[in-house]
């Protein structure tokens, strides 16, 4: 080694010893990334036309340095764990920054209503007019009401904190699970970062919704199970307590997650048997979860069957029809809502497709190595199967009624995929020629996977915030639907409303009144049509509804976009014909509220 070469590492060592640690610099980088995301969102809320590049640069400033450090060889377990926690909280903060004033994601107001009702009635199971099944799974409302009661915060504030804790649990549990199954905390760190490539990680998975709480609990139960498997007989009993507690919490929080837990535990029990694992078979936990989930379904939430059966049978029918040409395949990158047509740029589509391609390559490359561990760790078989099933669910995205089922299943299956792909990444990061180049290429690939996942999971036009609250003349103003919701909360709190999807959700929270929407009582049909049939209004009245909210904005039928300020020239500026509003006036119904695009008619106020 030349003298120059020998000096260089010495200088580097000294610099490393005296300068800030890599972890501290990464924390600072993540903070700057958040600032960039806040800036891009602020520009978007301002109604400007921000380039999304600033936003994605912010996201990458969080993801890439953490991915780079967490994949390095000489990093301690404690630092990797801290990096995983930082990763979870930073990416969650991006969602919080996008929606800082109130819940606007489709399911959020529904669950906020449940929490508010729990506070109002000092009890659970109060019913929900839009999604009745949610009332039968009160885990989220229970936890939120605890924070609301103890802090005096609104359901929004308590919900943001609760989901933040759940996200932290998800990532820490994944880290513990992957570490235990692989025996490598380096691989575990990489797998956690790769899991962020799941299409629901950045946004959908952190909305204030029951699944956002139940999935982390499920993963933590699996991590505890993996730990129990590795522990001696004495410690194994200790691990059983959190497994039982977590299973009970999952069952009372979310239907599909509890069924997923039963399936996973049953599969594990079978795999343990097939690989003749000497470790204790988890079948008692599978039976316990199955009995609990079935009991809960029968006793507390029998309407789950009515809720899930049309979704699942619709998905099966849709797949069948798409395969045999009876219905057209769904186009990728398309909104499920007909109210808004948005264009995903070519580059964004390319990144998303490249992400899928890279994941497939990673799966194929990592499979052999991961599969080799199956005899020691039955979890590996489960992960390998899950990874393969993920690619099968991608096909569901082509069937119009099945894409959501595929998208939701992806959150669970991606756990296995991330584990297998991390094996491939780790293999390519091992010492050898052109290590630096390989590492740079792998980081670029991880960036593509994370960004591609985010684009696949959330509409391009909704990545950035839209205005719900603005300032004018030194005062804060809220959008038309939110102004209506607050007026209802103040003046008609006991009213029962029929409204378009977005309006109904705002009436639930922050309005805190009751509203029905969608297919219920044909509201979806009645609102946009230009003339009324004779049965329609009596049907609404007969079902106890007092008011109908007519909204000319077509975007009002889109629960993800309909609560923002009306911006002419934007994708969601289309209006229904005036006749859609006039038809109620022709029946001489009383008009209680009129804000231009939105008119509230009193169904009982007539000559």
């Amino acid at each position: 080694m030349s003298s120059r070469d020998s000096r260089a590492p010495g200088r580097r060592q000294r610099l490393l010893a005296t300068g800030p640690s890599p972890l501290a610099l990464i924390v600072l980088g993540a903070a700057v990334g958040l600032l960039l995301c806040a800036y891009a969102n602020a520009l978007s809320r301002e109604g400007g036309d921000p380039t999304q590049l600033v936003y994605w640069a912010g996201v990458l400033l969080v993801v890439v340095p953490i991915a780079a450090r967490i994949g390095m060889e000489d990093v301690s377990l404690r630092e990797r764990f801290a990096l995983a926690a930082l990763f979870a909280l930073s990416l969650y903060a991006i969602k919080v920054i996008r929606d800082p004033f109130l819940f606007t994601f489709p399911d959020e107001p529904i669950h906020a209503y449940n929490a508010n009702q729990a506070m109002l009635h000092h009890g659970l199971f109060n019913g929900n007019p839009i999604l009745p099944v949610t009332s039968g799974y009160p885990g989220l409302a229970s936890a939120t009401s605890a924070l609301m009661s103890l802090t005096g915060m609104s359901s929004f504030g308590a919900g943001v904190i609760l989901i933040g804790l759940a996200r932290l649990l998800l990532v820490l549990a994944l880290f513990v699970l992957f570490t235990r199954v692989s025996g490598s905390h380096r691989l575990a760190g990489l797998a956690v970062v790769i899991y962020a490539g799941s299409s629901n990680f950045l946004y959908w998975g952190v909305q204030y919704s029951y699944e956002s709480l139940s999935l982390p609990l499920l993963v933590a139960v699996l991590a505890a199970l993996a730990e129990r498997e590795a522990a001696g007989p004495r410690l194994a009993r200790s691990w059983a307590a959190p497994i039982v507690l977590g299973t009970m919490a999952v069952v009372v929080t979310h239907h599909l997650t509890s069924y997923a837990l039963v399936i996973v535990l049953a599969l594990l029990a079978v795999i343990y048997r097939l690989v003749r694992s000497p470790k204790p078979n988890p079948w008692p936990f599978a039976v316990f979860a199955a009995v609990l989930a079935a009991g809960w379904l029968l006793v507390a939430a029998p309407n789950t069957v009515d809720y899930l059966s049309p979704v699942l049978s619709g998905a099966v029918t849709s797949i069948w029809n798409t395969i045999f040409g009876a219905s057209k395949a769904r186009g990728l990158f398309q909104s499920p809502s007909s109210a808004v047509v948005y264009e995903t740029p070519f580059l964004a589509r390319l990144i998303t497709l490249a992400a899928v391609g890279l994941l497939l390559l990673g799966y194929l490359a990592g499979f052999r190595e991961a599969w080799g561990r199956r005899a020691k760790r039955p979890f590996v078989v489960l992960f390998c199967l899950g990874g393969a099933a993920f690619f099968a669910t991608l096909a569901l995205r082509l069937a119009p009624e099945a894409w959501e089922t595929g998208n939701r299943a992806g959150m669970y299956l991606f756990i296995g995929l991330a584990f297998v792909v991390a094996h491939a990444v780790l293999r390519l990061m091992r010492a050898g020629p052109r290590l630096l180049l390989r590492r740079a290429a792998l980081l670029a690939c991880i960036a593509v996977v994370v960004v591609g996942g985010a684009i696949a999971g959330w509409p391009w036009d909704s990545q950035l915030a839209q205005p719900t609250r603005i300032t004018a003349g030194g005062t804060e103003l809220e959008s038309e639907p939110i102004t209506l919701a607050r007026w209802i909360g103040e003046r008609l709190p006991g009213g029962k409303f029929a409204a378009a999807d977005a309006d109904a959700r705002m009436i639930l929270a922050p309005g805190e009144a009751r509203a029905k929407t969608g297919d219920a009582l044909a509201i979806k049909t009645i609102l946009p049509e230009t003339s009324l049939s004779n049965w329609e209004l009596p049907s609404l009245r007969g079902n106890g509804l007092g008011y109908i909210v007519a909204d000319r904005r077509k975007v009002a039928t889109d629960p993800g976009r309909g609560s923002f300020f009306y911006v002419p020239g934007s994708e969601g500026d289309a209006l229904l014909p005036r006749a859609a509003m006039r038809k109620f006036g022709e029946r001489r119904l009383g008009r209680t509220y009129d804000s231009g695009n939105i008119v509230v008619f009193d169904l009982r106020d007539r000559p």
Partner: protein, 260 residues
């Protein structure tokens, strides 16, 4: 719990946190007390009860504290739902303190006599540069959050004006409340006309509203007893005084004198 310093601290912290959460009026202070009380203290106590004298590394401990704490919150509401009082500040605080005490007691029993070993947790050494970096990161994050939570002007967003009408609640005589809410971007001037029945007098009101302002008018109704009449409130924007801007209507029946 004698000799188990961690468990004693957990119990003491639970009591203090419960008192702060139940008695202090400030939201931020309550939040600082409520988060440990709701999640971390019960999570730690339950984990300690489950594992007894076994030591857990920080990674597993952190995961278990969150798992047990959040699970207890999901299940605790069910317990309170069927107890007198239901879900309230006091009942939640009591339940969580009881859970912490019971689990801590269970942990102490399972641990037996203290073995004198430390927690095994070593505090990370912090260097000046690290502290500076993390402090700067905290400041930048706080800046990002303040930036996000600050509503901004949005010139392209269309404001709205709402007109509403409901029966007056506290009127001595039969009357309606007619309100105008301005969520417009600038000051607006309006003319409000209220007509009771086809032949009733037309009442006119002129009003100017700043953004975010609301005005409510109580309009008395003089309708003969038993007769039904339509009340129509029409709002005109002063910039287009002849073009109807908003309209609300209601049908109302005249009540006998004295039954306001």
């Amino acid at each position: 719990m004698r000799g188990h310093r961690d468990l004693r601290w957990v119990c003491l912290a639970a009591i203090v946190a419960a008192l702060v959460a139940a008695l202090v009026p400030w939201e931020v202070v309550r939040l600082l007390a409520a988060l440990p009380l709701a999640v971390f203290l019960p999570g730690y106590a339950i984990t300690a009860a489950a594992f007894g004298s076994q030591r857990l590394d920080p990674q597993r401990l952190a995961m278990l504290v969150l798992l047990c704490g959040l699970s207890l919150l999901c299940l605790g509401g069910l317990v309170l739902n069927y107890l007198p009082g239901g879900l309230r500040t006091v009942t939640w605080a009591l339940l969580l303190v009881l859970a912490v005490f019971a689990a801590a007691r269970g942990a102490a029993v399972r641990r037996g006599k203290p073995d004198g070993r430390g927690s095994g947790w070593t505090r990370p050494r912090l260097r000046g540069f690290d502290v500076a970096c993390v402090a700067l990161a905290a400041a930048v994050t706080a800046g990002a959050l303040v930036f996000a939570y600050t509503p901004l002007p949005a010139s392209k967003a269309v404001g709205s004006t709402a007109l509403w009408m409901l029966p007056a609640e506290d009127a001595a005589t039969s009357a309606v409340d007619v309100g105008v809410i301005s969520a417009e971007q600038g000051p607006q001037r309006y003319r409000l006309e209220v007509q009771v029945g086809e032949e009733g007098p037309l009442r006119r009101y002129r009003l100017a509203l700043d953004p975010g302002e609301e005005r409510v008018f109580e309009v008395p109704l003089e309708i003969p007893s038993g007769k039904k009449a339509r009340v129509v409130a029409s709002l005109y924007d002063s910039e287009r005084p002849h073009e109807l801007y908003r309209r609300v209507t209601t049908w109302t029946t005249g009540s006998p004198p004295g039954e306001g």
